[in-house]
């Protein structure tokens, strides 16, 4: 018991995150019970739908890919005091740009796919430089500017697809990209593609940047205390610009990978809000690239598992949106959960007021 307490105390951040998710599922269970459904059975369907068969699992992983890359985008920014809520917009622009490169150019595979991904990343990164400049040199709050800049991106891509790129068929989309620009499908019959390798690379590189380089040290210092960073010779403005740019690049890359691996074209309104979900994923993942793997898997599973749950447990769609919302809600209330949790584990209050100020 004492050992377990010590362990929980040491890993309180992780424990809190897990607790938030568990609480969310308990809430969902209560909700299901109150509508006369069997939650155990429903969760059974959920798990089967997300992980039950190789095909389901592969599908879940394919959902995890954009979420995870986008979450890393958010983490890279947040670690350096940049709260990029514009990932959605940057992702759309990245996807469209990559699609244009994908269908517009004829190149050997060795060049075409990398170039397409690079172009997507750059598009996202450049778009992010607008709020970056506004934040760093004009003191405009980036949370507001990035949220607002999602709309121009959304309507711009919409306009391009409808009016500029050739329309094939009735679906508003660009033409299909060339085979040379596609990711190999790993599991025929599912959507799992070789983009998963890129994703793993992104996670590893992000972690490497933050933990193993002087640049990463500086970015984290800026994220935790700008004034101290400035005092110790870290060019705060440059680091924030860079963080914003990298964050935008990763957001764009997330879009490009979706195009190259799943849709093979830019499909208007293809993103079910990956950019927004990525923030929750990053938070549940404790702003840690490796932690994000777990939380992205959870949110990916929510997307696939819920389908089976809906069909077999006969749960209406609306309830499913609600489930998503409840999870997000509990995760956002994490700090509240954390203080209660610490009270229970340590047997003391953690109220800031309670700290000795003598």
């Amino acid at each position: 018991m004492e050992k377990a307490r010590k362990f929980l105390e040491k890993n309180e951040a992780i424990a809190t995150s897990v607790l938030a998710v568990i609480l969310a599922f308990i809430m969902v269970a209560i909700l299901l019970l109150s509508t006369g459904r069997n939650p155990i059975q429903a969760f059974g369907y959920f798990i089967r739908g997300a992980f039950g068969t190789v095909y389901n699992f592969a599908d879940t992983v394919s959902r995890v890919i954009p979420l995870l890359i986008a979450a890393i985008a958010f983490i890279i920014g947040a670690k350096c005091s940049v709260f990029n809520v514009g990932i959605e917009g940057q992702l759309l622009l990245g996807a469209l740009t990559s699609a244009v490169i994908g269908f517009g150019l004829d190149l050997p595979k060795a060049i075409h796919l990398p170039l397409m991904l690079l172009a997507g990343a750059l598009a996202g990164g450049l778009y992010a430089l607008i709020p970056a400049w506004l934040k760093v040199y004009r003191k405009v709050n980036e949370i507001l500017s990035t949220i607002m800049l999602n709309y121009p991106a959304f309507f711009f891509t919409h306009y391009i697809v409808l009016n500029v790129t050739p329309l094939e068929g009735v679906i508003p989309a660009t033409p299909f990209i060339k085979d040379t620009a596609k990711f190999v499908n790993i599991f025929p019959g599912t959507r799992l593609h070789a983009g998963v390798i890129v994703t793993i690379l992104v996670v590893i590189l992000a972690n490497f940047l933050l933990k193993k380089t002087s640049l990463g040290y500086e970015m984290r210092a800026v994220g935790l205390n700008q004034e101290a960073a400035r005092f110790h010779g870290i060019p705060v403005e440059k680091r924030m610009m860079l963080a914003f740019f990298l964050s935008g690049c990763l957001a764009g890359l997330a879009g490009a990978v979706e195009v190259a691996g799943v849709h093979y074209r830019y499909l208007d309104q293809f993103s079910p809000g990956y950019g927004y979900d990525s923030i929750t994923v990053a938070m549940v993942g404790l702003m840690n690239p490796f932690g994000a793997i777990f939380s992205a898997t959870l949110f990916g599973a929510l997307k696939t598992g819920i389908v089976d749950m809906a069909v077999f447990a006969e749960i209406p769609r609306q309830l499913i949106t609600l489930i998503n919302g409840i999870v997000v809600l509990f995760v956002s209330a994490k700090s509240l959960i954390r203080s209660r949790f610490l009270e229970v584990v340590k047997g003391k209050k953690t109220d800031a007021l309670e700290k000795e100020t003598a």
Binding site: K212, S214, A221, L224, N225, G233, E356, T357
Partner: protein, 509 residues
Amino acid sequence: MATILEMRGVIKRFGDVLANDHVEFKVEKGSIHSIVGENGAGKTTLMNILYGLYQADAGDILINGEKVIIKDPSDAIRLGIGSIHQHFKLIPAMTVAENVMLGNEPRKNPFMLDLKELNDQTRRLSDQYGLAVDPETLVEDISVGIRQRVEILKALYRKANLLILDEPTALLTPQETEDLFRIIKRLRADGKTILFISHKLKEIMEISDRVTVMRDGKVVDTVEKTDTSEVKLARLMVGRDVFLKTAHPSKKIGEVILKADHLSAVSELHHRPVLSNVSFEVRAGEILGIAGIDGNGQTELVRALIGLQKLSEGKIYLSGQEITRLPVKEMRDVGIGVIPEDRLVEGLVVDFNVQENLCLGQQRNEPFSKNGLFDWKAVSSNAENLVEKFDIRTPNIEHLARLLSGGNQQKVIVAREIFHAPDMMIAAQPTRGLDIAATDFVHEELIKHRDRGKAVLLLSLSLEEIMLLSTRIAVIYKGEIISIVNKEDTTVEDLGLLMLGGSYEHIPA
């Protein structure tokens, strides 16, 4: 005399820490009773319990011999307890009178304030105790010392008989302190009881009737002022003999290390001049102390010297080389070390751990960085080394700096800066808020640095500290250096006058 306040077996626990451990003492009505102790001895916790901000876990509080329960500050006020905080709780945009009456304003009718009555009452109260406060000025226009009096007025208006003054002199000049003491004595003469919280022994000896000494949450002793001395109190506080020592003088003064040549700067916010024509030199083997009241340009001077404050005019030289307008990083690399005035904001990244903090500023230099890669081995061995050498008390080097005590946080900063042996060390308020032992440590390190033939620039609000450490002393007033003298040629009183904008001509011989 009657006992106005008695504490019996008061216990307060924060987690594993006993902040107050069976605290017992009595305060006599109409006396000035001091409570002294090092930082973390539990003084503030005890006062917060008395004022209803915390609840004691056990024990009794007796006011005028009756057991009372104080759940919140409004209970405390009802019982006649007033608290003048270290950090004032005033509204700058309101007048003195409005601040004093806030929450209890005299009204003509339910919707209108009686402004005349408001000002008259405040004036009467102010006159009664010789506070000399104008009720109609805005709080934002008055000095720190006067603001403190407004806080006292607030307590008096609420009919406080027992006034808690928590470190009231921390922000005051010597003159303001004297005025405050005069006011305190007048309050005593009027039958008020004063609880005076401090760790400055000199003041304690000057003002108190009785002294309660606390250490590690316990009351060590309560003594009559007449039966004790500074040295005795210090021993009780620290639990061992301390040397309120005088530093030995500079041995060998070498050539000029830092030269500030007519530095001027304006604030970015208000475009007001913050530095004007500041010139001085600091030589190898000496400590130049800069005395001054808070907010007279010290902050900007430090920032200018490390490249953070834009200069409108002037040049900075380090060992003859011009370094004006170099980026911060290069200023640091050519040999300027800095102990910033605010350790939590500028000195440390408190959410970094100890080892990360111990290489802050050097993150791009060997051995911590090789080809842009961060060498954690070098970082941790550097940290192990410094922790041992400077006796930094931390469970391990991966402990967050936030969780260290103030003294140990400062040790981290001092260790880091001293270790790189910069030719020029700038120490801004290096002992602010530190207790005796930690202050001693910082002083010793600065002296050692000086004796290694390096230059030290010391900015401090404490004249005692300036007098103790400096070889020469400059006084800064409204962004100007108005005098530079050898330590031997001046006194605390003279410096105090200069800090207020006086000049040597005004000082009676």
